[in-house]
Symmetry: C3
Subunit: 206 residues, 3 copies
């Protein structure tokens, strides 16, 4: 079993640990987390250091997953992705055994499928994405790199989501809609037409 | 393994192929799809002809599933259902192994349970329905023939949905509510009271 | 296999029976249900008497689950819980094999996880709760005793729900939000900020 380094020790990391343990494909070597409050471990896994220790740790443990959450901005996760790659590290694809992923779908490196998520036929997910618990990516949909599709969101057939988007919990994107890069779709929004890059959708978008 | 003919080669067909492959109960013989753009196969399955070839194909392959989607109107799916029956064909019930169906529920012929859908105790689903990915049909609910319950919709306990309805993605129908035949419930609608036949619900219905 | 008494024979009981049968951990001894319309059994299980027979039945069958539903008020379920405890009875934790429960989560006695529900890492659920079909309790969330999290509701990371709340079907509670005791969140509500005790939320709560 390969060793895996986790980058970020907050709440999303707790959920990632649960998925990694359930998948039983990797041994968690420890967690990179800024020192705080004398905390030494998270769910039983050792804190190994902070961001500045990352380059030297990656020479020992080259496989790393970004376990920082993504509320709105993708910048922290993009920066960590870049540091891992620059230091010769690699990112696995992690899939909960409680998720379903079509054999006709593709997933980019560093992407995680949380429990109960579903990726249907012909869907294509980019690198470094979070497909969160109970989220649905329907047939022929495309989610570009560095996106977070939050809990229970539904991305319907043929939807296209560009890089760095946040799709809030329980949001519904109508089939065929295109979402521009960096857009933020609030929790529970119902998106019935295209959304330009960088736009924030906080109220229904008919 | 029996051979199965698929009628309709669009996006919903991609998702149906994924379910049929996952269930591993039927061998897909090929797809009926109007000729377009020189396309010869869909996810590796041959296009066998168009609607006019259907009667003769059904004599060779009598088992057929309607894989045309249903946005709003059920007419195309009803027409194909009638053609299959008139030509002596039969329609299987198809269930994703990633769906849950209570042993106390009943499903009509030609109905498909997509991945992650859930049919609870005492529920009754008519013929030729699509219960789409992550959709929920709760205990004691009734869904009549030729309905499409779209992705992630929730049909709560004791709800009754009459023939030919469309329930949009992420819609919630309150327990005990009755939906008249041919009604269209938009994506994300929250339906708290009965809906007459033929009505279109596009805004919350409190 | 231990015998289990069910208290309440309505629609929610049908769904509970399906979960208990699927889990195959307990033998259903029968159902406590007020006499009505000459009904003698529910999904094949015998009606054993009404509430007044409960103390004597509990001496024979000390394990009991409350299968009365909870729309809004938790009082009936709290009263039954108290009667079981006063008469020396015990309540099991019942989990659908189609639910996912993290090994880092805790569940109180008498709580049931319905099909397709998901309890993530570090979540803590109190006693006598219904976590209904397709409901999601995310990492680090807390649900106190006597709550009903209805079908498809999403309780996001770190949310805290106090005793006796009702969270309606398809509702979304934003990460970190606190819901006061006895609050009622309507179906499909999107709750973005804290809710005081006893409050009824019927329209979006931004």
């Amino acid at each position: 079993m390969k060793s895996l380094l986790l980058l970020g020790g907050g709440g999303h990391c707790h959920a990632c640990i649960d998925v990694i343990e359930a998948e039983a494909m990797y041994r968690i070597a420890g967690i990179i987390q800024p020192p705080a409050d004398g905390m030494e471990s998270i769910l039983g896994y050792q804190i190994l250091g902070s961001d500045e220790d990352l380059p030297s740790l990656l020479t020992q443990i080259p496989l790393a997953l970004i376990t920082v959450g993504q509320i709105k901005s993708p910048e922290t996760r993009k920066r960590l992705f870049s540091i891992i790659k620059k230091n010769g590290g690699q990112l696995p694809v992690v899939k909960s055994p409680d998720a379903y992923c079509s054999r006709h779908a593709t997933l980019g490196e560093g992407t995680i499928l949380m429990h109960g998520s579903l990726i249907n036929a012909n869907a294509c997910i980019g690198e470094n994405c979070i497909i969160n618990s109970h989220a649905l990516i329907e047939h022929d949909a495309r989610v570009a790199a560095h996106c977070h599709v939050s809990t229970g969101a539904r991305i319907n057939g043929g939807v296209s989501i560009s890089e760095g988007c946040f799709i809030g919990s329980g949001a519904v994107i109508r089939e065929g809609v295109e979402i521009g890069s960096g857009a933020i779709i609030g929790a529970g929004q119902i998106v019935m037409r295209d959304v330009p890059s960088g736009q924030i959708v906080r109220h229904r978008y008919d």
